[in-house]
Symmetry: D3
Subunit: 138 residues, 6 copies
Amino acid sequence: MTPPDINSPEEQARYRRGLEVLNAIDGGGAPAVMDSLGDIAPALAHHVVAFGFGDLYSRPALEPKQRQLVTLGILASLGGCEPELEVHIKTSLNVGLTPAEIVESFIHTAGYAGFPRAINAIAVAKKVFADRDLLPVT
Amino acid sequence: MTPPDINSPEEQARYRRGLEVLNAIDGGGAPAVMDSLGDIAPALAHHVVAFGFGDLYSRPALEPKQRQLVTLGILASLGGCEPELEVHIKTSLNVGLTPAEIVESFIHTAGYAGFPRAINAIAVAKKVFADRDLLPVT
Amino acid sequence: MTPPDINSPEEQARYRRGLEVLNAIDGGGAPAVMDSLGDIAPALAHHVVAFGFGDLYSRPALEPKQRQLVTLGILASLGGCEPELEVHIKTSLNVGLTPAEIVESFIHTAGYAGFPRAINAIAVAKKVFADRDLLPVT
Amino acid sequence: MTPPDINSPEEQARYRRGLEVLNAIDGGGAPAVMDSLGDIAPALAHHVVAFGFGDLYSRPALEPKQRQLVTLGILASLGGCEPELEVHIKTSLNVGLTPAEIVESFIHTAGYAGFPRAINAIAVAKKVFADRDLLPVT
Amino acid sequence: MTPPDINSPEEQARYRRGLEVLNAIDGGGAPAVMDSLGDIAPALAHHVVAFGFGDLYSRPALEPKQRQLVTLGILASLGGCEPELEVHIKTSLNVGLTPAEIVESFIHTAGYAGFPRAINAIAVAKKVFADRDLLPVT
Amino acid sequence: MTPPDINSPEEQARYRRGLEVLNAIDGGGAPAVMDSLGDIAPALAHHVVAFGFGDLYSRPALEPKQRQLVTLGILASLGGCEPELEVHIKTSLNVGLTPAEIVESFIHTAGYAGFPRAINAIAVAKKVFADRDLLPVT
């Protein structure tokens, strides 16, 4: 019962495949999170990339814009995921969702998870959009 | 401080607009839920239709397939929403999401909300798909 | 670092005080839950009564009807608490909340925790009210 | 499948009715939240007011103090709703709940949603009460 | 951006390593869940085994009894995870946690996530223990 | 229906027993939280100590290291419990869990509650470990 060596050629190949997916969709925020895990949980960073992006995100049944819509719904309704929402709002823009579509996902969330979750998610979006001069959203 | 009369012409017009949206997307499960509210919370049934569908769902910034992806992410990750998941898996099929796309939304959920939420949502999908002879999903 | 003996005179006095509170407000469902803990977690049953009712519920800053409103909001929004909701809907009736007030608490929940949580809570209320011939709610 | 025009006379009438309710109960915090939505999700601000306050909050089955008790229970137990808790603690004071009743709602929450949710909600209350010179609570 | 072929030699090796871990700890319930995914989401079953058990569970920093304690805390507090709790209560017994330790994990949960989550988890444990003639727990 | 006087000899004895448990395990953070409750909810501080530590934590069925593993799983998966996580990461170190075991609990959480909850919990651990010169974790 030993885990794989994350530095083995097989795991490094998995990691590279995940990183390719991540680089293809990423808005620039995720790598910083990955870096912050380096001195405390490098295996988690490995698995986020190798499993989260290489194994899951790469699957063709949903295209990136569709995956981001699912992700925005999940993160908004879980609550307490502001740092992850920020990363995924940037990623959503990067894969081609418009600011209006991102906002709409959160307005839609109001009906299923209530106004507070929706309003909190929109507050994160507002910060991201302001940094990128994307306000007002029309 | 009085609420609107849900039987007024204005509210009935709002309700009819919501019902039109609901009928356009519905897979057949929602009306049963609405009916079950009739003798205990008719105002809630009114607001689900008038607000949830007439005001929110009808907004053009996301098309129905996109809205369903957000909804599947929300309901799967909230947990304890099996009846609502059943309704929305049917609706998702009805608006044109494929069984593979619905399943993929839940597989994707595993990375953000964990395996249990994903597995529970897929168990609901399996029941819906079995009833409609849509198994196996390929 | 040893816990109190739940059979000591002091703990039995705490338990009796809690049981008095529970009996004063209870709609008949809680004791069954307590009984079911007897052969697996009697200490938990003791603490639910001694702490939950004797220490917390007995506090005069909120009267029972007010406490039940808080409780209904909590249980509806947590989700997955159908057995506890059933107990507390009965308790709410017993302390004098009307069926309309109970239902209204759940309709109100829709705005803050979304329609699914509200609808699920109302489904539990409907079952309790049907058993007691309290439908329709007007 | 088009949503209502939020600037139509009918929607403006709904909005005004909601705003009247909001002004009647508001402690001064909500409008700031509404304003912050103006350049990113004005429709959500409209719906919070028109639906949340005009359609739901205005219903007479619960009076404002009762509604606030339900709301405090919901927001405390959901977690991650600190900004909304702040608004609703102010509103609770404004409609006549005492600081002791507000605190008691959160102490009560400890039994149903655990100590962390209760302690976090009380930390928000402490900040609001300190700003208004309402400490200590007795 | 293509996912790994779960039937490739590399992925089959990952799967076998995970299955070895699963078989070493499993109480007999998990394979049934895995089987149920076969005709709807075989990739998810693959990832639960290859990632969940092969990559995560196999890590030596926590031994199986310790991992089960973390898992019991997570599943009890998430709520709505009754099927997964059942599997993991069986696994916990299998790796050597006593019924009293399992129950104690849930009693402990009461303080951090409230009585309802604790009581619901204990109800699942009671069912598992009854099937195995492990009641009463002393 | 009156609560116990928390200043009575019986309650003071319960409090002292809880404080003894708390002092035996505490990493130095909890008392600050308790102090902050003094002018707003002293009864809650009393119950956290008397019930949470005196009644629950003191129970011998799990030793402190085991209880902390359960607690870390609960707090990480609930989300929005960063202040409590900080206290309990310190307590975990104090009772003898290693930084690697604490981190591993959170990596394990990724499989059951998703990457965001795991990453957020590790961010809190990183802050605690940095303050105590415990980085990198190996």
